[in-house]
């Protein structure tokens, strides 16, 4: 059994629950079949096992170094990524014309998680590249697509996303990097970007930065931001590399986890290089001026769901390591059996260990199902039969994005913590892998919009967008599952359905209360608590869906699903009530707290 992920679970989710085979009737996916899907997953599992997992620890122990103005990584990363690009895995979901294989998003996600779980740091390079080229494919001019996309799908160029700055992290309206337009329509950029993952490395021939910068007219706030392609080396018309652009690596950040991914401070336009004889980083506008954030959001929704599924992957592999350890580690005797001459029992014999493993199982399998469900929505958004169905899928995805990002970042991280706990002292040492998974996963509540920002997104924007259309759709979607469970003839599932419905009603009532007052600051004061409650209700629904998909099927695998669903409904869903109670009182304890009192 692989300790990276469970292929059995992925097959259940992808084929039995989300019916991947049905997608092959859509025009975009018609060249595929269930068999090619299985084969693609085989290839991913094999490459993740043979080329990604083996250097995961090495990556962690050998952070990239700053040498002669560049970032130097260990050679294993480059080798793994060469195999990865050769198998055409950089952008398998893209259209054929952009070098993709038109693989459904669902399968693309099921492929991606293998690499995230096996080696999150190495996998970050191609994932950033894919996000980058997807933006160019969506908004770029023809010449930009022709020049930059093929070398990225081939793995010769990698991409980055340059949004954050030292003074502008959560608050992108404070971005200061500015663009100046030349007479020839090309731009020059000046400024500093902070935290840029993959901002420099010695793996690819070239790096294509997508940079958010203030447009020449200098309108303040996010409305004045545009998006620019800024290559590390300029690319000639024939595709060969030209002059070195004025982008300079100023330093590397030394992180808690994700250590194999370079994380950089980049200076643009300080004259370190002088393309065309002058200082200023050469940039090409993507899409319209002052529409940069909208373009970036195209990638950001995708990136946020990607962060969520990365968090799931890390939690999942931690869980599998913990199960493996608990089965083989002998320690103590069952409660009440105190005869020291009897042999010790496996950790799994202890109820408290089973509690932790069951909690972790419910988090990681719930998170995986949520991530894949969102990917399936992307397929609906792209290929559903009617325009209405496509719009609906888009709306639901918009609604679920903050949950798909934040819930796994919190609870699959908790699974990583539980995996350490199951290992006892050994889990706290670097001889085992689980502490690294925890450190790696600790990033996920921070980047791509912190937990706090996701809370504001769901409560401040998503539940009220389009006059509440998103929330209505969310309700209708859950109610359909509730109705199916009630009609299933299975008493247990009907019971869960009732509990889910009750929690949903409560959530709606509290949402109305929070928005009934005319004070944004107070409405949003406890938004992260709201985010958690919303997330738990969402995942309870996802567990009910899984239990329905397992209904009538026998064997350990399905029994495991049923027990995890039971755990989620008994132990986890009730946690939302105290949270919703607190929210309903419009509690202002945190709001009233003064800086001077700390």
């Amino acid at each position: 059994m692989s300790l990276i992920l469970s292929r059995r679970d992925l097959d259940f989710l992808v084929f039995e629950w989300l019916d991947a085979a049905a997608l092959t009737s859509r025009e975009r996916y018609q060249d595929h079949s269930a068999e090619t899907f299985h084969q693609v997953l085989d290839t991913c599992e094999a490459i993740a096992t043979d080329h990604f997992a083996p250097h995961n620890k090495l990556n962690d122990q050998n952070e990239p170094q700053f040498v002669n103005g560049g970032a130097v990584t260990i050679p294993e990363v480059k080798r793994a990524l060469a195999v990865y690009s050769e198998a055409a895995l950089i952008a398998p979901g893209q259209l054929y014309e952009y070098g993709g294989m038109q693989l459904p998003a669902l399968l693309e996600k099921a492929c991606a998680v293998w690499f995230r779980a096996a080696n999150i740091a190495t996998s970050a390079y191609p994932f950033l590249t894919a996000a980058n080229l997807n933006v160019i494919a969506a908004y770029g001019e023809d010449w930009q697509k022709e020049r930059f996309i093929p070398p990225m799908t081939e793995g010769r160029f990698f991409g980055t996303m340059c949004l954050s700055e030292p003074q502008a992290g959560s608050s992108l309206s404070d971005v200061r990097t500015r663009a100046v337009k030349q007479d020839d329509g090309i731009y020059r950029l000046y400024g500093t970007k902070m935290w840029i993952s993959g901002g420099d490395q010695d793996i690819s021939e070239n790096i294509i930065h997508l940079v958010l910068a203030r447009s020449p007219d200098g309108i303040p706030g996010v409305k004045g931001l545009s998006l620019y392609i800024v290559p590390k080396f300029l690319v000639n018309e024939d595709g060969t590399l030209g002059e070195r652009n004025d982008v300079v690596l100023a330093g590397l950040n030394h992180k808690m986890g994700y250590r194999g991914t370079t994380n950089t401070l980049l200076n643009f336009g300080e004259g370190g290089h002088r393309p065309g004889g002058e200082a200023g980083a050469v940039g090409y506008l993507i899409g319209q001026e002052n529409n940069g954030l909208a373009c970036m959001f195209h990638m950001m929704n995708e990136a946020r769901i990607g962060v969520g599924s990365g968090a799931v992957a890390l939690g999942y592999t931690g869980y599998l390591h913990a199960v493996d350890y608990a089965k083989s580690r002998q320690q103590g005797r069952p409660n009440g059996a105190k005869d020291p001459t009897t042999p010790q029992v496996a950790l799994t014999r202890h109820t408290d260990i089973r509690r932790m493993l069951l909690a972790a199982k419910s988090y990681v399998e719930g998170g995986m199902a949520l991530a894949l469900y969102c990917a399936r929505l992307v397929d609906e958004e792209r290929t559903a039969q009617t325009p209405e169905a496509r719009v609906e899928a888009h709306l639901l995805l918009d609604m679920l994005t903050p949950i798909a990002k934040s819930w796994p970042s919190q609870w699959c991280l908790e699974a990583n913590s539980l995996a350490i706990q199951v290992h006892g002292g050994y889990g706290y040492t670097r001889d085992y892998n689980v502490e690294q998974f925890y450190r790696d996963n600790r990033l996920n509540p921070i980047h791509e919009g912190t937990h706090g920002i996701q809370g504001i997104d769901i409560l401040g924007r998503k539940v009220v967008m389009q006059g509440g259309a998103g929330l209505n759709l969310f309700n209708a979607t859950l109610e359909k599952t509730v109705a199916r469970a009630k009609a299933s003839g299975d008493e247990t599932l009907a019971g869960y359905a009732g509990e889910l419905h009750a929690a949903l009603d409560r959530l709606n009532a509290v949402t109305a209360t929070l928005h009934a007052i005319n004070d944004q600051e107070r409405t949003l004061a406890n938004a992260s608590v709201y985010l958690e409650a919303f997330g738990h209700i969402t995942v309870a629904w996802i567990w009910l869906e899984q239990a329905l998909a397992a209904l009538g099927k026998a064997g350990d695998f399905y029994d495991g699903k049923r027990q995890a669903a039971r755990y989620f409904f008994r132990w986890e869903l009730p946690k939302v009530y105290p949270q919703l109670d607190l929210l309903e009182t419009l509690d202002d304890t945190t709001l009233e707290m003064q800086e001077a009192w700390f």
Binding site: S2, R7, R8, E35, T36, Q39, T43, E86, A87, L103
Partner: protein, 248 residues
């Protein structure tokens, strides 16, 4: 030049094999199955011959259950041109497999057969040798290096105590050892291309070969558990022990 590669569907090499409680065989229920690793190496070698312009067509043959189609598909995704599946209900014994392959060869007339030196399920290491004998073709087993020209193959073989290089005239049977090459992964574009490649479905009866078992399995058991080691105080004691065990 046409190259024939037999491929077998076996328990994945990562799976921890368990004996069935009634000791009639190993438990195959819900177990991951894959292409025999030595057959992957053989396929890779054949595909490389094609890429070098030495071979013009690579045909893969599998003898096994319906699902062995997946194994053939994998070989096609690695670059083989077409497949033949001879469906059998039970695991055919080496001699039956060799006879079936001989019959396929009579139809296909390949100039070269490249196959795994053994399948990792039975570890028999027999079919290649049997096939060469039935065909009365030269054989070169345990190949770690292969060079093929129009009428001969130069094969480096791994033998006890070193390497042996020999020339065999074609047609011939070559069996692949672990170090012959590192097989490629089935890339996405090749998986898609393989979908359109043809797999001919056959039965043993089509070739007039009797595949009913000639051997009887009495009992399958787990290998004995390895007993714990002992600690020795120094090198002298170690040498003494090795001598007394008859190792030195």
């Amino acid at each position: 030049m046409k190259v024939l590669v037999p491929v077998k569907r076996v328990i994945d090499y990562n799976v921890k094999v368990r004996v069935k409680p009634d000791q009639t065989g190993v438990d195959l229920a819900n177990v991951k199955m894959s292409m025999n690793p030595f057959d992957e190496i053989a396929t890779e070698e054949a595909v490389r011959l094609k890429e070098k312009g030495v071979a013009t067509e690579v045909v893969v043959v599998s003898i096994g259950p319906q699902q062995a189609q997946e194994t053939i598909r994998t070989a096609l995704a690695m670059g083989a041109d077409r497949g033949i599946l001879i469906v059998t209900d039970q695991d055919a014994e080496p001699l039956a497999v060799a006879k079936l392959l001989k019959a396929v060869i009579a139809e296909e007339s390949p100039n070269l057969v490249v196959m795994g030196k053994q399948a990792i399920d039975g570890d028999n290491n027999a079919v290649g040798q049997m096939l060469a004998a039935l065909l009365d073709w030269p054989q070169a087993t345990f190949a770690s290096k292969l060079e093929v020209t129009a009428d001969k193959a130069t094969v480096t073989r791994e033998i006890d105590g070193g390497l042996q290089t020999l020339d065999v005239s074609l047609p011939a049977v070559i069996t692949a050892d672990l170090r012959l090459n590192e097989p490629r992964y089935a890339s996405l574009p090749n998986i898609m291309k393989a979908k359109k490649k043809e797999i001919a479905m056959k039965t043993a009866a089509d070739y007039g070969v009797d595949v009913s078992p000639k051997l009887k399995v009495l009992k399958v058991t787990e290998p004995p558990k390895r007993s714990a080691g002992i600690k020795v105080a120094d090198a002298a004691e170690l040498v003494g022990k090795l001598k007394s065990e008859g190792v030195l």
